[in-house]
Symmetry: C2
Subunit: 114 residues, 2 copies
């Protein structure tokens, strides 16, 4: 079971850093060359490349080198996997609260409870 969860480990780990979230945010708006991705970030190109490596390993970003330019783009499936996981937990939690609400409403209608 833990093996199946490894991609989620990597995706959440990748998203746990503000610089990497800025990079994902930028790439959600469209592909970008590494140099463009690095421009708003106050760090060396080598540090940017390390963050990019984490994003690639997690499956959130794909890069491709054409000539001398490496272009990066988002891989939506990884982001969807993380979103789906959180969504499912929220549904569970909301369902439980709905049930609690129904129970309390039923108690309210029950003359024995008054």
């Amino acid at each position: 079971m833990l093996n199946n969860q490894a991609p989620l480990d990597l995706v959440f780990q990748a998203l746990a850093d503000p610089t990497r979230r800025i990079m994902v945010e930028r790439l959600s708006r469209g592909p970008a060359a590494v140099s463009e991705l690095a421009k708003p970030l106050a760090m060396s190109l080598s540090a940017v490349m390390q963050h990019l490596q984490v994003l690639e390993t997690s499956g959130l970003v794909r890069t491709e080198k054409v000539g001398r330019v490496r272009t990066c783009q988002i891989e939506p499936v990884a982001l969807q996997t993380a979103e789906h996981w959180i969504n499912e937990r929220r549904s569970l939690w909301e369902r439980r609260f709905d049930q609690l609400g129904d129970y309390l409403a039923a108690q309210d209608d029950d003359p024995d409870s008054k």
Copy 2:
């Protein structure tokens, strides 16, 4: 700006571990005592407490000690913050693809492009 993002760092970091995700999953179904939370996990109670500490620090879980029993419950706001962040990025990405689709359809209709 980075300070505002600290909670997201902690939430994604907390979710990057399969044991902690199992704990969040369990608590999405309702509150539980620490001993109950530990039952399906093949680890010492002290290891469970460490994971619980990470979840508490991230804001995903709240615990309360009444007498000798510590009860844990989910704090949905932290989960919603993470969900919202991913959601927004997906919307950006989908909007870009819609625009690309519109552009290609317009090119298709344009007799000059044939």
